[in-house]
Symmetry: C2
Subunit: 197 residues, 2 copies
DNA sequence: GGCGGCAGTTAACAGTGGTAAGCATTGTTG
DNA sequence: CAACAATGCTTACCACTGTTAACTGCCGCC
């Protein structure tokens, strides 16, 4: 018995939504095609009509995550002062990771093998989130508060520091004597220090 | 037909060795209990006689990795000058990660859930690798080249930066215009800059 | 009316981690 | 030496995974 769906690709939308819910609710390890199918109310194989395989579905979730992160970064990127803006961006990045652990894992902590298949055009889209940081660095160089060779390299360096901070906090591997918030402040402060003139 | 083993727990040793080989050769994703059993030449369930479950076996591998990393760090930690020593330690850390991707993944990139069960005493043992960095920082503060509040916090901050660098390089997510080696130099330079007086 | 293709189904395959029950061999004890 | 218990390992399962093949029913089109 097949419940008729309003329009052709509504199931695709439903699969994405339920996947997102399951991902956030039960974590990446508990995200299986059959569970998604049960939540959506279709058979597991129907998912393969809309996504080539599990990875393709996950890539779509990465897309959603990148979009969400981008929104947060745009919101944080308001201050005219480059240093303050970069600090706000850094905090927003880490905050996003801590607030959306499942998304963060899917976006940045998946195995390289899986990422290889991540379509190039989507990868480019994800780069916007780096460019926001690079712009703040460029502005800072123009106004003389930052000194660095390349904003692109600088943004990547900052990203590696922020990613290390976020991922180790998420993994609860940071067993430091001070509170998490204070540690985040210290780490971000340290990272920004390296750019200052 | 059961091949008699020389002594009681030789199988445990064989399981660890084959697991390590398989881990390095085929990667974490392809490391299954049955494959290990086939390589060792025993049944899959025999592994459960020596390790509570898959996670316990992996914890033992983490131990081996921590030990190896420790050896590398000790080798790198020779320079009397704290800044040079810390730089060498940072490079050794990243080098270890890039040279031993499978170990690095198992040691630092596994899911938090798995880490929860990671025995505390082993976690303490892993902390030695942080303390080596903290000592260099302490020495640097004493000789006036570094300024920081706490060597412990400082070592953790440095670690987050190094981990972000290593893990993103391993995931091949760093798409920067310069060569990897130059990027590593830049990132480590940036991280050390934040400690300088 | 017939027909093609689309969107979904069920059945099955090969693999996974993990458990239960059983079977030798070995060491200990009366 | 004989009886017993424990150790180390086995086979046979269970429930689950991602994925494919083959099938069915329904829609619009000629």
């Amino acid at each position: 018995m097949v419940e008729a769906r309003p329009n052709g690709t509504a199931l695709r939308r439903a699969i994405l939504d339920e996947s997102r819910h399951l991902l956030v609710a039960e974590g990446y390890d508990n995200l299986s095609m059959r569970k998604i199918a049960r939540a959506v109310g279709c058979s597991a194989t129907s998912i393969y009509l809309h996504f080539d395989n599990r990875d393709a579905l996950i890539h779509a979730l990465i897309d959603e995550g990148m979009e969400r992160l981008h929104e947060q970064l745009v919101v944080a990127s308001v201050d005219a002062d480059p240093l303050e803006r970069l600090k706000a961006l850094a905090h927003a990045y880490v905050r996003f990771g801590l607030d959306n652990p499942e998304y963060y894992q899917v976006m940045f902590q998946l195995h390289p093998e899986r990422m290889e298949r991540y379509p190039v055009e989507k990868f480019r889209r994800a780069r916007r989130n780096l460019e926001i940081h690079a712009e703040a660095l460029t502005d800072g160089v123009a106004s003389g508060v930052f000194v660095l060779e390349s904003p692109d390299t600088g943004a990547h360096v900052l990203w590696t520091a922020l990613h290390g901070l976020s991922s180790l906090l998420l993994a609860e591997r940071v067993d430091v004597k001070i509170a998490d918030e204070a540690f985040i402040d210290a780490a971000i402060q340290h990272a920004l220090e390296g750019f200052k003139a």
